[in-house]
Symmetry: C2
Subunit: 204 residues, 2 copies
Amino acid sequence: MVSYKLTYFQSRGLAEVSRQLFHLADVQFENHVVDRDEFLRLKPSLPFGQVPLLTVDGVEIPQSLAVARYLARKFGFAGKTAEEEAIVDALGDQFKDFYKEIHDYFYAKLGIIDVQVNEDTHLIPARNNFLTILTNFLQKSQSEFLVDSGLTYADLIIIDNMTTLIGWYPDYLDGFDKIQKWRASVLNFPKLKEYLEKRPLTPA
Amino acid sequence: MVSYKLTYFQSRGLAEVSRQLFHLADVQFENHVVDRDEFLRLKPSLPFGQVPLLTVDGVEIPQSLAVARYLARKFGFAGKTAEEEAIVDALGDQFKDFYKEIHDYFYAKLGIIDVQVNEDTHLIPARNNFLTILTNFLQKSQSEFLVDSGLTYADLIIIDNMTTLIGWYPDYLDGFDKIQKWRASVLNFPKLKEYLEKRPLTPA
């Protein structure tokens, strides 16, 4: 049996999509939760000095999107054809760009950086661009999800991050009806719903 | 026969690794070069409003890393096992983080943003971190490249970007002997060398 260990903080953050993928696939893994002190102790030995880190039978895989993509491919949540896989990857990369764009808002809200932020300046312009792009994909999709063949890691990662944003700014989805409907489809995906009802509540 | 069209500016930038992959694999593609005006005309019809865009028999794939990964997987430059593929992806994502970190330096040097930058502040700290990580991978690798099985798109994308940085700052690799040796191995990879000797010279 393959041995999986996922090292990250208690928060959902950059590892939650991978935890969700394990649960969707009914695959056991060691959920190695570290606090700040243990992270700093481990840091010099981490391939990129960062978490999340997935260890697969001793092989270390860093970077959240690479980890999620690896698990999604194994478990069947990465798209069905080579071209669809590439489009799912592109949506993941576009999410990464969006996340960098709202970096100041996100990390100020987490209390990690000390910057004055407000939604109008630091969130809404990036949101408008990103959710408009996603709406176009949803309009063309033959499933309830971003791509035709069904739920993928791109849906999971974007929707989980959205949960955090809505927690800080409840009007986040106002005016984005297609996105609201999509979010409900993801959150009600039976195996995911079952997991979300059990997981510890964390703000991010 | 599959029809490929790659849309991007004349520059190497975010599309060069994909052009190189076509050449390494001896696969024909339409190198659709756009200028600023044509890009702005196309922009509303692009899936993410951005280039590069790869079109494969009419299917549109945006995002430079997603495009490079798609071609690398097809052509055998993405790693040999699922775990090695994930590590190659992680190196690509780490490059993306590095590229964001040096964003101000890069775009100021290109003349796209008007910010005062200098190497000591805007390049060297990010360089030191990134090249130290890569040196660790090279030390462990059983090939001349970042991963054991040989040349991948992660080598190509990082080395091509390095060519641009060295053009602006010739001392960029001082003190990084392993990186210099690796760079020579990539640039002398026979099929790549042949391509680099023919391609139009561009500063970035």
